[in-house]
C-alpha cells in the first residue's frame, strides 16, 4: 500500500509545524515512557530492602523484628531484580538504534557492574582487615548509595537529563549523611530518603509525561 500524495494537501505552515512538534513529542514519549517504571522499581527495592535490613538488626525497628537470614537474601534479591529490570528496560529503549552512542551506552552499562564489584571488594577487604560487623553495616549501604549517585551523575551528563542529576545528588547526600545516624538507623535513612526520593522522582516523571501528552 503506497500513499504518494504530494505537497499541496497541507500547505499551511502552522499545520506543518504542529505536525513536526506532535511527531517529535510522540518519539520522546515512547523513549521516556519506561523511565518512571525504572525509578519506581528502584524506589520499591530500596524502600523495602533497607526497611527489612533495619528490621533485622538488633536495636532497629521497634515494632517488629525479622531474622537476618530472611532480610539479607530478600534485600539481595530486590537489588538484583532492580538491576535486571533496568538492564532490560535500557536495552528495550535503545533497540533498533546503533552508531556512535552505542559506545557511551555500553560503557555506562558496564560501569554499574564494575563499580558494584569494586565497592563490594573494598568492603570485603576491610572486613578481612578487621572491620567490625557494625562498621561494615554502615559501610555497605553508603558505598552502594555513593556508587549509584555517581553513576546517575554520569548518566545525567551523557543524556543531559536533569532528573538523573537531581537523583544523583540525592543519592550522594543520603550516602554521605546516613553513617552519622549510626547503625542500624542508617538503614532507615537509606530506606526513607533514598527509596523515598526514587519514588517521588518516579511519580513526578509519570505526571509530567502524562501532562505532556
Amino acid at each position: 500500500m503506497t500513499n504518494t500524495v504530494e505537497p499541496h494537501e497541507t500547505d499551511d505552515a502552522a499545520e506543518m509545524l504542529a505536525l513536526i512538534t506532535a511527531q517529535q513529542r510522540k518519539v520522546d514519549q515512547l523513549m521516556l515512557r519506561p523511565i518512571p517504571w525504572m525509578l519506581g522499581i528502584w524506589g520499591v527495592a530500596w524502600l523495602v530492602g533497607f526497611l527489612l535490613l533495619w528490621s533485622a538488626y538488633p536495636g532497629g525497628n521497634p515494632l517488629f523484628t525479622i531474622p537476618m537470614a530472611v532480610a539479607a537474601p530478600v534485600f539481595a534479591l530486590l537489588i538484583a531484580g532492580a538491576i535486571a529490570a533496568s538492564a532490560i528496560i535500557g536495552a528495550r529503549l535503545s533497540r533498533g538504534v546503533k552508531g556512535e552512542s552505542n559506545f557511551a551506552g555500553a560503557v555506562y552499562g558496564i560501569s554499574w557492574s564494575l563499580c558494584g564489584i569494586a565497592f563490594a571488594a573494598l568492603g570485603v577487604g576491610l572486613i578481612a582487615n578487621g572491620l567490625s560487623q557494625e562498621l561494615a553495616s554502615i559501610y555497605f549501604p553508603s558505598a552502594f548509595s555513593l556508587m549509584c549517585g555517581t553513576l546517575y551523575l554520569a548518566g545525567a551528563a551523557l543524556w543531559r537529563q536533569v532528573s538523573q542529576l537531581v537523583l544523583g545528588i540525592i543519592m550522594l547526600v543520603v550516602g554521605a549523611v546516613a553513617p552519622f545516624f549510626g547503625a542500624p538507623t542508617n538503614n532507615l535513612v537509606m530506606a526513607i530518603f533514598g527509596g523515598g526520593a526514587l519514588l517521588v522522582a518516579a511519580i513526578v516523571f509519570a505526571v509530567r509525561l502524562r501532562q505532556a501528552r
Binding site: 500500500m1 500547505d11 505552515a13 505536525l19 556512535e100
Partner: protein, 103 residues
C-alpha cells in the same frame, strides 16, 4: 495565518509523510542509525508506505540507507544525512518565519 508559498519550502520534505519521517530521524543523535522496523514503529506507517517515502528522501540525498546482515537476516539502517539535517532545520526555520516568528 499566512499561506505558505510553494516555492519557498523544500518540496522534498514539505509533504506530511516525509516531514514526519524527517522529524523522527532528526531526534536521533548525529552518528547514530535506526533500524527500519523500529522507525516504522515510531511512525506508525506501513512498510510499503515508509519504503516509498524513504526512497524519495534517499534520492534527494537527505537520508542514508545502509543494508547489512545480522546473522542471516537482512537489516536496514536509516539515518539523516548532513544535508538532510540541514534541510530539516532550514525547513522549520522557514515555517517559523512564515508564521511571523524571528526563526
Amino acid at each position: 495565518m499566512s499561506p505558505v508559498h510553494q516555492g519557498e519550502l523544500d518540496p522534498v520534505i514539505h509533504a506530511a509523510a516525509r516531514l514526519k519521517i524527517t522529524a523522527t530521524l532528526a531526534t536521533i543523535p548525529p552518528g547514530d542509525r535506526i533500524a527500519f522496523p523500529r522507525l516504522q514503529e515510531l511512525l506508525d506507517m506501513t512498510p510499503g508506505n515508509l519504503s516509498t517515502h524513504l526512497r524519495k528522501l534517499e534520492d534527494a540525498a537527505y537520508v542514508e540507507v545502509e543494508k547489512t546482515h545480522q546473522g542471516r537476516t537482512p537489516v536496514t539502517y536509516i539515518s539523516l544525512s548532513k544535508a538532510g539535517r540541514r534541510a530539516f532545520e532550514d525547513y522549520t526555520d522557514a515555517l517559523k518565519q512564515l508564521l511571523g516568528g524571528t526563526a
